[in-house]
Amino acid sequence: MDGLVLKEINLEKERITIGRKPHNDIQIDNLAISGEHAAVVTILNDSFLEDLNSTNGTLVNGQPIKKHFLRHNDVIELGKYKLKYLNDTAAPVADDYQKTMVIRPGGIRPEPPAPAAPAPAAAQGPHSVAPPSPAPGTAAQGVPAAAIQILNGANAGKELPLVKTLTSLGKPGVQVAVIARRPQGYFITHVEGAHFPVVNGQTLDAQAHPLKDHDVIEIAGVKMEFFLKP
């Protein structure tokens, strides 16, 4: 309400109920809160929030929900009260993170990896929070933008932006090379054909070759320039 963290609650139980009545795990004694308002169900390292048909509803990040898969930094609103869900097991704390384990039906406890307790904190406060788990496939995002410009032939002057992880150049069945966009930069590799690509007059071998700004590439008789975008 005034930005202060009132309380931190560890989600140690499988099911934690929130409501106005005293038997709830988290009691919020306020008339805008229903007797049994909502519940947080935790399955190993994931938690789900459920609205228990409360009168005034439950919001997550401003949206009303019935059932919601909680993600790190989600803000839950019940009436005027806010709870923030924190789950920083995403930080690669231990080498054991992401080791495959077997979970068997019938209640054998599979020890969860890196059991940093998910903790919703009452009210939104100044928290030092671990960055959320990055979605896969975002690693090359920090690489400067680059493009290829065709220098001769019918398509001279055309520009080809290198936005995907792989961009292929040349003619299939004749000569093809590919430019890979990686966190370390851009690399050109021969894919098929009897002739290997030429960069700045030098014929490449089968190895991936790093590209520098303004390198001139020749594939299947077409010259093109690689350049980084400002």
Partner: protein, 266 residues
């Protein structure tokens, strides 16, 4: 045509960027049209032992059979029997030697047979098919996450953010009997099949897997290397293994009637 002429196979396994050792194991026998991939789990080197045993025992027992002249039903029966036998062997080793207690492994394997592919799997290692510009996952993970998706608790989009990754509901060696999923598919010339451990599909989006297979279909080793590199560029938090199989021609068994007859005589 012989499977070894009709199929191009490339296998690669890599420890990744974080793990000190590789608990994955891969095997390919082009002559039999057989590929095997296992992702082990367990303390110390037990995971490597479990995946290594799986690949070695299956390669050995199936290597002594002439898979080509079998009927589809007989082949399926053989795989069930041999996978059960491997399960028992791992389970017994885990039971009898304390350093191997609790070890287990996933398995995904394929037998290319008479223009069909028989896929067997246990756990969360996968088989994908690239056909005419479409990537399809043929296997359904035996994992907590997949069960949560199936029951509607999580959407596939939400599942990407789950912290309950890598919890498999089935594995070889964990119990005395294992339930194996075996499914047959028609194979078409031009198909590319990708068998992989979760170190690939956890780190690399399906779109990037598809882009790689599309762009590098003409160069299978490069495609395999690129997939592993993508996983490592994205963090490489797990061991990553890929087996790529490209179908270059039909491999229907010609003159199979007399081979089957010979096999029947034996």
């Amino acid at each position: 045509m012989d499977p070894s002429d009709a199929l191009e196979i490339f296998a690669l396994t890599d420890p990744g960027q974080v793990r000190s050792h590789n608990e994955d194991a891969v095997f390919a026998n082009p002559g039999q049209g057989l590929v095997i991939l296992a992702d082990g789990m367990g303390g110390y080197n037990a995971g490597e032992v479990a995946s290594g045993m799986t690949v070695t025992l299956l390669a050995d027992s199936l290597g002594r059979q002439d898979l080509r002249c079998m009927s589809g039903a007989a082949l399926e029966q053989l795989l069930r029997t041999e996978i059960q036998a491997v399960n028992q062997a791992i389970h017994q080793a885990a039971d009898s030697q304390p350093q191997y207690a609790g070890m287990g492994t996933t398995l995904v394997m394929g037998v290319f047979h008479a223009d069909r592919l028989l896929v067997g799997h246990v756990g969360d290692s996968r088989c994908y098919r690239w056909r005419q510009g479409n990537l399809a996952c043929l296997t359904r993970d035996h994992s907590l996450l997949q069960e949560q998706i199936d029951s509607g608790l999580l959407s596939p989009a939400e599942a990407r953010y789950s912290q309950n990754r890598n919890l498999v509901t089935r594995a070889l060696g964990v119990e005395s009997v294992v339930e194996v999923e075996l499914t047959g598919y028609d194979v078409a010339v031009g198909d590319i099949y990708l068998f992989c451990s979760d170190g690939l599909n956890d780190m690399v989006e399906d779109e990037d897997i598809a882009l790689t297979l599309q762009t590098l279909a003409a160069n299978l080793p490069l495609a395999g290397g690129q997939l592993v590199q993508l996983a490592n560029d994205n963090g490489g938090r797990d061991n990553v293994s890929v087996i790529l199989v490209k179908v270059k021609a039909s491999f229907k068994e010609s003159g199979s009637w007399w081979r089957q007859w010979l096999a029947w005589l034996k």
